[in-house]
C-alpha cells in the first residue's frame, strides 16, 4: 500500500511480518512485529510461567525492558516491602528478568519509574515504533508517533516468545483540536473534554490521531497526557505525528539513536505524518479556544463536565440503561444532579500517575503552591513518575515547595492511581486526582474520585474544595 495513508497505517504497514495473500480463503489476522516490549510486575508473572511451561526463551531480550511500578510502596525505598504478596510479586519480576536476560529497572534502580514515564524519558519509545505493554495506558507512547497499545498477559507471553502479535488493523479516528488553550486550561482538559464528548466506549475499535494547532502547541509531556487517556475513550491507541518538538525532546536521550544513526532516524521519522488526502474512518473537532478546566463527577472518565457546569440530570439520557448508569454514579459519588462540582469539599488531592507525574506537571503544581499552604483538612500526595523526575524536581527545589505548602512528597510509582500498594482513599473520601480512572473503588474501596488537571488539583488542595484554578491565577 502507498499514498494517502494515515500515521497509524504507515506504522502498521512497516511492521507486517506475515499476512495471508489476498484471495486466500484463510481470513487470519496479520502478524505484526513489535519493536519495544515494556514489562512490569503485575501482568507479566503468568506470561513468564507460560514460557517456562513450554520451555521457551525470550526471543528478543534486547527489545524488552522491565520496571517495577504498580505494587511498590512510595515510601522510603531502603525499607523492605511490608505486604508479603506484593514483595513476592516484585521479587518474581526481578527473578524473571534475571532468568530470561531482560534489563530491569527495579525498586532500587536509579531509572525506576512508572513504565509510561520512563519509556519516553529514556528515549526507549521512538516515532514509528510498535510498542506494547501489559497495561492499557501504553497508549501514552503514541505521543512520540509510535503505535503503542496495551495487551493482556497471553499477548505478553506471545511477544516475549516471538516478538510478534496477531492483530487486525483498527479503524482510524482523527481528533482535530483547533485554536489554542486559554490560561488555566491544559492537555488534561483536552482529553477529558474529548472523552466527555465521545463517551467511554466512543473510540472502541479505533486508533485516535490527535491533530490541530492546539496539539502542535503542546510540549511532549502534554502530548503524553493526551495520548495516555485514549483508552478511557475506548481507543486502544492514540497517536500524534512526530515533529520538531518530538525530535528535540528525544535528541540525546539514552536509548535514542546517536550521530549518523540519529540523522537517518529523523529522516525516516519525517515521512511518518499522515499524508494529505488520507481518509479517516471518523473525525471530530474540538475547539480549544472554548475549553474550560474539566472535571469528572461520576464513575467513569466519560462522566465529565466543565468545572462550573452542572452535573447532568439522569433524565437527560435517552437510553434506560444510560439513565440507570447516571443515577447509580450519582448515588455512589454522593452527589446531586443539576449543581456544579466547584465548591465541593475534598479530602485528598493526588498529583501523580502515568497521566500527570512528569516534571512539567510537578512544576505547574509547585508554581501554584509556592508561597501558599494547602488546606489543613486536605491530605495532598505528590508522587513523581520516576527517579529521573524526582532528581530533576530536586534540582529545581520543588520538593521544598511541596513540603512547605504541606504536601506529602513521595517516591516514584503508580501509587494512588491504582491503589495496589496501600496508597488509597478511605471509604467515602473524595479526591481530586490527576490520574486517569474514576471507576468505583479505583483509588480504594468506597473512595470517590474527581479526575482533573494538575492545576485544578493544586488549586483544590489550597482551598479544600473543588476549585476553578483561574480564580487563583
Amino acid at each position: 500500500m502507498s499514498g494517502n495513508l494515515t500515521l497509524s497505517q504507515k506504522v502498521w504497514n512497516q511492521h507486517v511480518v506475515h499476512e495471508e495473500p489476498s484471495g486466500s480463503n484463510l481470513d487470519y489476522p496479520s502478524l505484526i512485529y513489535i519493536d519495544l516490549h515494556l514489562v512490569h510486575e503485575v501482568t507479566s508473572p503468568q506470561a513468564f510461567q507460560g514460557l517456562r511451561d513450554r520451555g521457551l526463551k525470550v526471543r528478543r531480550p534486547d527489545l524488552t525492558i522491565a520496571t517495577t511500578d504498580h505494587s511498590i510502596p512510595t515510601t522510603d525505598r531502603s525499607l523492605p516491602i511490608v505486604d508479603p504478596i506484593a514483595a513476592n510479586q516484585v521479587e518474581q519480576l526481578a527473578k524473571n528478568c534475571r532468568d530470561f536476560g531482560i534489563q530491569h529497572f527495579g525498586v532500587h534502580s536509579n531509572d525506576q519509574g512508572i513504565v509510561h514515564v520512563i519509556g519516553p524519558e529514556l528515549g526507549l519509545t521512538q516515532p514509528g515504533m510498535t510498542v506494547v505493554c501489559g497495561d492499557s495506558h501504553t497508549a501514552t507512547h503514541g505521543a512520540v508517533g509510535a503505535l503503542a497499545f496495551g495487551i493482556g498477559t497471553s499477548e505478553v507471553e506471545n511477544v516475549l516468545a516471538t516478538q510478534c502479535l496477531l492483530l487486525r488493523p483498527s479503524k482510524t479516528f482523527r481528533v482535530n483540536v483547533t485554536g489554542s488553550l486559554k490560561a488555566g486550561v491544559s492537555a488534561k482538559d483536552i482529553i477529558l473534554a474529548l472523552i466527555a464528548r465521545i463517551g467511554i466506549g466512543g473510540g472502541t475499535g479505533t486508533v485516535l490521531e490527535y491533530t490541530g494547532s492546539a496539539i502542535r502547541a503542546l510540549d511532549m509531556e502534554g502530548r503524553m497526557t493526551v495520548c495516555n487517556m485514549s483508552i478511557e475513550g475506548g481507543a486502544r491507541a492514540g497517536m500524534i505525528a512526530p515533529d520538531d518538538t518530538t525530535f528535540n525532546y528525544l535528541h540525546g536521550r539514552r536509548f535514542a539513536p546517536k550521530g549518523a544513526d540519529w540523522d537517518a532516524a529523523v529522516a525516516r521519522w519525517r515521512k511518518l505524518p499522515t499524508d494529505h488526502g488520507a481518509k479517516f474512518d471518523r473525525e471530530i473537532t474540538i475547539n480549544a479556544d472554548a475549553l474550560e478546566p474539566m472535571i469528572t463527577w461520576g464513575t467513569n472518565p466519560g462522566m465529565g463536565v466543565s468545572i462550573n457546569s452542572p452535573i447532568p440530570e439522569p433524565s437527560s439520557a435517552s437510553d434506560a440503561l444510560e439513565r440507570d448508569a447516571l443515577t447509580k454514579a450519582l448515588s455512589y459519588m454522593g452527589l446531586e444532579a443539576g449543581k456544579p462540582l466547584a465548591g465541593h469539599a475534598v479530602d485528598v488531592v493526588f498529583i501523580g500517575s502515568c497521566t500527570n507525574s512528569r516534571i512539567s506537571d510537578l512544576r505547574i503544581a509547585a508554581n501554584l503552591l509556592k508561597g501558599r499552604k494547602v488546606n489543613p483538612k486536605v491530605r495532598v500526595m505528590v508522587v513523581p513518575g520516576s527517579m529521573e523526575v524526582k532528581r530533576q524536581a530536586e534540582a529545581e527545589g520543588l520538593p521544598e515547595v511541596f513540603r512547605a505548602a504541606g504536601c506529602d512528597y513521595r517516591e516514584p510509582g503508580c501509587s494512588m492511581c491504582i491503589a495496589m500498594n496501600g496508597d488509597q482513599l478511605q471509604p467515602g473520601q473524595y479526591s481530586v486526582s490527576t490520574s486517569n480512572r474514576n471507576f468505583e473503588g479505583r483509588q480504594g474501596k468506597g473512595g470517590r474520585t474527581f479526575l482533573a488537571s494538575p492545576l485544578t488539583a493544586a488549586a483544590s488542595a489550597i482551598t479544600g474544595v473543588v476549585t476553578d484554578v483561574r480564580s487563583l491565577l
Binding site: V17, G152, S170
Partner: protein, 199 residues
C-alpha cells in the same frame, strides 16, 4: 485450553453499562503471580459487604447467579484496564460466554484467549434476552455462530475466524505464531538497521 463445545445455559443478567475491569476484579487482587483462585474475587466489591458477608441482593449471590454459564451484561463490557485477570476470574466462576451490545477491545481479545466467548448482539436482541423469564435457557453454538432462544429464534453473532478456529480446536495463538519463525527471522533481517536495540 479445552475445545469450545456447544452448550445450553440460563442467563445471569447484569444490565449495567460500562462494567469496567476494576469492578470485574479490583486491582488489589492483582498482586498474585498465579492465574488461579480468582473466582472468589469476581465482582468482589459488588458481591460482598465490608465484613466479607455476601450481599443478598447481588445477582451472583442469588440462585439465579449459580450454575449458569452466560453473563448478560450492559453495553461496553470490560472497559478499562488490560488485566487478563478479568476473564480468568469470570471463567473460574463458571462463565463460558458474556453477551453484550459491545465489548471493550482489550477485554474482548483477552476473553477469546481464555475460552470465554464474547457475544455481541443488536440492541433489540439484548432487550429480548433481558426480558426472558428467569429459568429460560439459550443454546450457544460457536461452530455455526448461533444462539438459539427458547422460542426457537436463532440469532447469529460475529466471531473473528482465527479466534473461532483456536476456540473450536482448543489451541492458543502462540503455537501458530511460533510456526511463523521463518517469516519472523526474515523480517528481522530485512529491518536490521531500523530496529533499535537496547544495547
Amino acid at each position: 485450553m479445552k475445545a469450545f463445545t456447544p452448550f445450553e445455559s440460563r442467563l445471569v443478567p447484569m444490565p449495567i453499562n460500562n462494567i469496567d475491569t476494576d469492578q470485574i476484579i479490583p486491582a488489589r487482587f492483582l498482586k498474585t503471580t498465579s492465574k488461579e483462585g480468582l473466582d472468589k474475587q469476581l465482582f468482589c466489591d459488588w458481591r460482598y459487604n465490608a465484613d466479607g458477608s455476601p450481599k443478598a441482593d447481588f445477582i451472583l449471590n442469588t440462585p439465579r447467579g449459580q450454575n449458569a454459564q452466560v453473563l448478560l451484561a450492559g453495553d461496553n463490557f470490560g472497559c478499562g484496564s488490560s488485566r487478563e485477570h478479568a476473564p480468568w476470574a469470570l471463567t473460574q466462576f463458571g462463565f463460558r460466554a458474556v453477551i453484550s451490545t459491545s465489548f471493550a477491545d482489550i477485554f474482548k481479545g483477552n476473553a477469546l484467549k481464555n475460552s470465554l466467548l464474547p457475544i455481541v448482539v443488536p440492541h433489540d436482541v439484548h432487550q429480548k434476552l433481558l426480558a426472558l423469564p428467569e429459568d429460560a435457557k439459550v443454546k450457544i453454538d460457536l461452530a455455526s455462530q448461533t444462539m438459539t432462544l427458547p422460542d426457537g429464534t436463532k440469532v447469529e453473532f460475529p466471531v473473528d475466524p482465527f479466534s473461532k478456529t483456536c476456540l473450536l480446536e482448543g489451541v492458543d495463538e502462540l503455537g501458530w505464531i511460533l510456526k511463523q519463525e521463518p517469516a519472523i527471522s526474515a523480517y528481522e533481517k530485512a529491518r536490521a538497521g531500523s530496529i533499535n536495540t537496547l544495547a
